[in-house]
Symmetry: C2
Subunit: 112 residues, 2 copies
């Protein structure tokens, strides 16, 4: 992933409402969640939510799939994966070795 695209995607995650959406959709897994369910969990106006979803869709962080009159939102896990991979690749470049503790045994990443 090139820098511009990574920045655009990070910017979308860089808003508390959208990061909350991200969080909810990670928990929901591959089948995703309906817009209505997300709205209920966040308790925000439908138009506001719709606006945020549209932004995330525009950078391919998530996709929607209609089933009857319900729209299901699913995270694009491969895109999220690529984004985190990009960040890691950058972080690992320090002096040829990682300056991050996250990859050492015993921490979060190791448990995934």
């Amino acid at each position: 992933m090139e820098l511009e695209l990574a920045a655009a995607r990070l910017a979308e995650l860089g808003h508390s409402t959208r990061l909350a959406i991200f969080r909810i959709l990670v928990k929901a897994g591959r089948q995703g969640l309906s817009v209505g369910d997300i709205q209920q969990q966040l308790d925000i106006p439908a138009s506001t939510l719709s606006h945020h979803l549209a932004r995330m869709i525009k950078v391919d962080l998530l996709q929607q799939q209609r089933e009857g009159r319900t729209l299901y939102c699913q995270l694009q896990f491969d895109v999220v994966d690529a984004l985190l991979g990009y960040l890691y690749a950058e972080c690992c470049a320090a002096d040829g070795q990682s300056l991050l503790a996250i990859n050492k045994k015993g921490n979060v990443a190791a448990k995934c």
Copy 2:
């Protein structure tokens, strides 16, 4: 790290100039780089760069240290670490197992 803070930090990384700064400072490692050196690499006006640095400092992504008339910028690796850790923790929560390939052997994270 709580959601609000994580979002604020992601938002700062979510700008191409600042992500470029981040990248340069990762490569520079712990000793960091002077503002002037960063400016030279990015080729942008000093005031614009200063503005972006100030924003990143505000959310503790980086710090500055004066040495004579030169200001050195250093990434706060522990903060970056915590931020990526937060994202990972969220991502790992899907159905109790990771939906990310990034932690499987053979990819970027594994090489760090």
